[in-house]
Subunit: 467 residues, 3 copies
């Protein structure tokens, strides 16, 4: 049964050979590279039984699996259900939101295991992986999910796969510069994940600017139930964010502290978001866009500092501010970015990830600079900032400076990388839809006849109303 | 685009200045009080590195974080997704259900950290928090979510914030009396969370009785998809309830046992609920209201006794009975409460929390009174009931008596507190909606044009049917 | 308000006395049997406090609860939300999908605790249960959920309860033969759960063949939002599958390795599924049926081998192949099975569980046969395959042979058992619906007036359009 929708096929969105080709090519490459490079790390290898004895470990509990696996699963849910459903708010792009997020994340984690592995887990020609690598791969892909938010509804799945390939690569380079060369702390990724991911995505969407996008304006809104689906994404991101920020912190008090700080920051963020959502609307009504997004800014904004001695009240302050900044962003900045800077940001990642990411980087730099042995204890101080080896003599204020440098580097890599990748994605070979077909699942998906179309048929006198 | 809905604005529901004011005032107070009082507990503080050595801890695994964090996350999901989505069953109140639950819980956990902290974690002028405090704060807020179920759709967000402030306070006082003065066991909160929360909420809704509520009767039902959204809430509550009841039990066998007992009780509860749902309906069809709610009564009813040696078959019996009582309650008691006692209980919390909570308290008292050293082992017996220090000589039967006293105290605090708080909420300054606008998101939320309104427009000859 | 739906009550679907009778009978039996047989295992019993000292355990962390509880909760979510929501894709069978899955699983886990307990945890006349038993009970019920997928929408709840009783019994017998008699490894259940469950279900649906099922063809499809609900199920299955395959592996490296292998396999599976979904459709569009189901085949296909040294690239290969096989199955095999073999497989479990399950069994046999002391280490080798006691001298190639035998046994038990149980379910006493009422919730559920019926009323001139 054909639906008389505007199928103004000015552009060729036919995926039949292109999408399979890219998917299979990518996957074959992964298999070959994994075959050459990837092996189990010592704690996942059957030899661990022997190694345990050499290391005098008395309990299987000492396996890193038990320290990190619960957090890993929470992060995994955030990437696939959290980001996936958060983007289902559009009335006719639910399949694309959750399905393409699934596709790009599933590919991205494989490529991230390799890229991050070469930089961080490479020994004797092999990448040795364990649960921490899985978390880091999910983190890396998180930055792609963020960028996806800016271009949601306007790109083909092939473009997303191409972008994922490049963005994961750039993420890993940037992460290496920050963590290894600058020796910066960023366990929850305010800089590496959010600032980088968001400004990368914003640059890409700027390059891909569509002047006629108002042609699909009727599809840029939500419907009642799509807003509830999006709340599933929101709540899973919100609830599991303490796991996100603590997942790769040091064992013990660091993980514990990260979770508490993030919990506090997020709680405060909800209240200021609600306050400003109501205050900035003429009729004083709450806006689901703010509740779905700005309530999460508190998690982003303590991404760097959560594992530090930020303290619970410090977290409340950071969370409160970021909720305000994010909500104000949705009301004033997003329209401004679109009309003046030609940045079409579907999900408003500038408000949810870019600005709170910057706040997070800055708060991290300040918190690091303010650290003292008194507050951390002598050993805790060294452990918290890993002031060992060549960094033995680094002072907190110098560390704060390097943290700040990390923000700048992340921004640079995001802008330059985003511009180049945006240019590549602009090539007319990737099968993106025409402006009037944006935000519409029918372009790339088999869409079932549904309630809406039932309603349509009611005007059709030769069809019975009841399906 | 205006919708010609009944906006009989007899009441002023304008939130623009009132809601932001309350939210921001509350949050500023939290920041100040956290600043003065709240610090990291020893296991979340960077000094733990040193303390570990003093305590001769050989592994980071001994940090309480690893004993409780997975359960904490499950509880967190129950509070925000579980309760939030459970209440989305109403056809036009999904935003309010999930959004206001989000708001009150996010505020409540902050205030609970303080209130419970002063009672239980106060040392040298500071409240020292760790993962157990986060769980307890979530628990405390759980009782507010329960009370919210009674007044769902009939109150303004400001009323909810005011109620949360008072209810968290009363919860903490009641909890202190039970746990510290009466030395009662109640790890899963049959008394402190469910009995208290439900009777508090029922008293509040009695005070706020709306004689003309049938004016919004058309919105008190569900639609097909809202019932499915509600099932998300139901299932997450059901699946994670073993974590709820075991989250703050003693390490080791207690946590293990609590999870098993709860698992068994809930499984049995599903079968008796289905049986009675079919049996009590003339056509023998199952009713989603029962499946969404009464299946959970088994978790409530073992809240006190789950960590005791209730045994798996004991759990099956308790779960079976509570499923029956709860389902019967929905069919017979809820209409009776409304028509005779003027208690309008939107979600039927009397059936899901009040009666099963009482059952839970009684089962706990009996199980405690029946405890013997033979069943628990000499050391296990002391550990299970904490018969140390001044309680060294307490016998099981005396403990059973104190447990029963705990039920009575919880009821008293609920009734008296609920009456007072209900009186405060009755003041005409909080912006609640008129009776004909209850159960309607449009009062406090920006609601998108949706399928339904598309259908509406089809009668509008100057609009095309297809959106 | 009556809906003029086709209620061609050729069959008596009246459940009022039959369903309650079966539910209560089943539950009473459970209570009696639990009372006679089931007790807490040593790690959940209050005596553990003393036992800990005897065993020289220095930490509560050594309790198995902490090794397995997070995985248990993930598996629990897979059974109730994963399978439940995966099957909500049908436009008018969401209540039945999630509700009946809830019912059969809640009963099944109780019966499974007994059946598996008698075979595996029976000591001195008592079944001693702990967290591992809970996981195994969930696993066992997983095989029933799979079979439910084949007959979804075509059976009464009583038939499902009867089938559950028998299938759990057969599962336990088959599992005992495989694990104890053949000494086969199958931690993720490629053979015991998926191969057995799927071929059992396919045999049952073959016996229950309905020649006139096209009468309800209009209800066999999805609507837009039902496809999104189904994606919740898909994603939770996909994300938590690493926990499924590692939940009952040996502590330490085995659990760690299982999670990594499953993660890799699933990631690869998504890409090949997307590729073939697009490739096999004339217009090149993606099909939600494939995305919802075939993306999971990678988890099934490493169910046996995940805890072995399959290696990450081996997992990618297995995942890639299974995604292809599964998607091809949906496009070509399902129609063939229905038209030629009269196997009506509502959810396509042949593609998601049967074929990938066989692949999983074969991959497991090969991986076991290829094991060497070099790859596993001397001790790791013995631990991985439990080559101790009477199996001390078993070689990898012999183990491979026994693994293959496990597949054959599972198939035999499934076919014979399925035929017998199918025969029992064919008796005309269970209240199943007529062909034209299949896939319709109204037969067994109170269904609310909804959007659709609002649309219906629009043709009713004496009703206003807006509800």
């Amino acid at each position: 049964m054909e639906r008389p929708r505007h199928q103004g096929m000015a552009k060729n969105t036919y995926m039949r050979w292109r999408l399979p080709l890219v998917c299979l090519l990518w996957e074959v490459a992964m298999i070959v590279l994994f075959g050459v490079f990837v092996r189990f790390g010592p704690e996942a290898d059957a030899h661990w039984e022997e190694e345990k004895k050499e290391l005098n470990l008395t309990s299987d509990m000492e396996n890193d699996f038990y320290f990190r696996y619960p957090s890993f699963q929470d992060v995994h849910v955030m990437i696939f259900v959290g980001f996936g459903f958060l983007m289902t708010f559009l009335k006719r792009y639910g399949f694309g939101a959750v399905g393409f997020n699934f596709l790009l994340a599933a590919f991205g984690i494989q490529w991230a295991l390799l890229m991050q592995g070469w930089f961080h887990s490479f020994k004797n020609g092999k990448i040795l992986i364990g649960v921490e690598n899985l978390i880091n791969a999910d983190f890396c892909v998180g930055s792609v999910c963020i960028a996806f938010g800016a271009i949601l509804g306007k790109t083909s799945p092939i473009q997303l796969l191409v972008m994922t390939l490049f963005q994961v690569t750039l993420f890993s380079v940037n992460e290496y510069i920050l963590l290894n060369l600058l020796h910066v702390k960023d366990a929850g990724g305010s800089m590496t994940i959010h600032t980088f991911g968001a400004y990368f995505g914003l640059t890409v969407t700027r390059i891909l600017y569509r002047p006629n996008l108002e042609q699909s304006k009727d599809k840029q809104g939500s419907v009642y139930h799509s807003d509830l689906f999006a709340m599933i994404g929101t709540l899973y991101l919100w609830m599991y964010w303490p796991s996100f920020n603590s997942a790769i912190s040091e064992h013990g008090d660091s993980q514990h502290r990260s979770a508490i700080n993030t919990y506090c920051s997020l709680a405060a963020c909800v209240l200021t978001t609600m306050a400003f959502s109501s205050m900035l609307q003429k009729k004083g009504k709450l806006d689901m866009v703010h509740i779905q997004n700005a309530t999460l800014a508190g998690g982003v904004a303590v991404g760097t500092s959560a594992e530090m001695m930020l303290t619970p009240y410090g977290s409340l302050i950071v969370g409160s501010i970021s909720g305000i900044v994010s909500t104000v962003g949705y009301v004033y900045f997003t329209p401004f970015l679109e009309s003046r800077l030609h940045i079409q940001d579907t999900c408003g990642i500038h408000n949810l990830h870019a600005m709170p990411g910057l706040i997070g980087g800055i708060v991290g730099a300040i918190t690091a600079a303010a650290a003292t042995e008194d507050v951390y204890g002598k050993e805790g101080f060294i452990k918290a900032f890993d002031f060992t080896g060549e960094y033995q003599t680094r002072t907190p204020s110098v560390q704060g400076g390097f943290q700040a440098a990390g923000i700048v580097v992340s921004l640079l890599v995001a802008f330059v990388g985003g511009a180049i990748v945006g240019g590549i994605l602009k090539l007319p070979i990737w099968g993106d839809a025409a402006a009037e077909n944006c935000f519409e699942d029918e372009v790339y998906w088999e869409v079932p006849e549904d309630e809406e179309s039932d309603a349509y048929h009611m005007h059709n006198p030769d069809k019975p109303a009841s399906p």
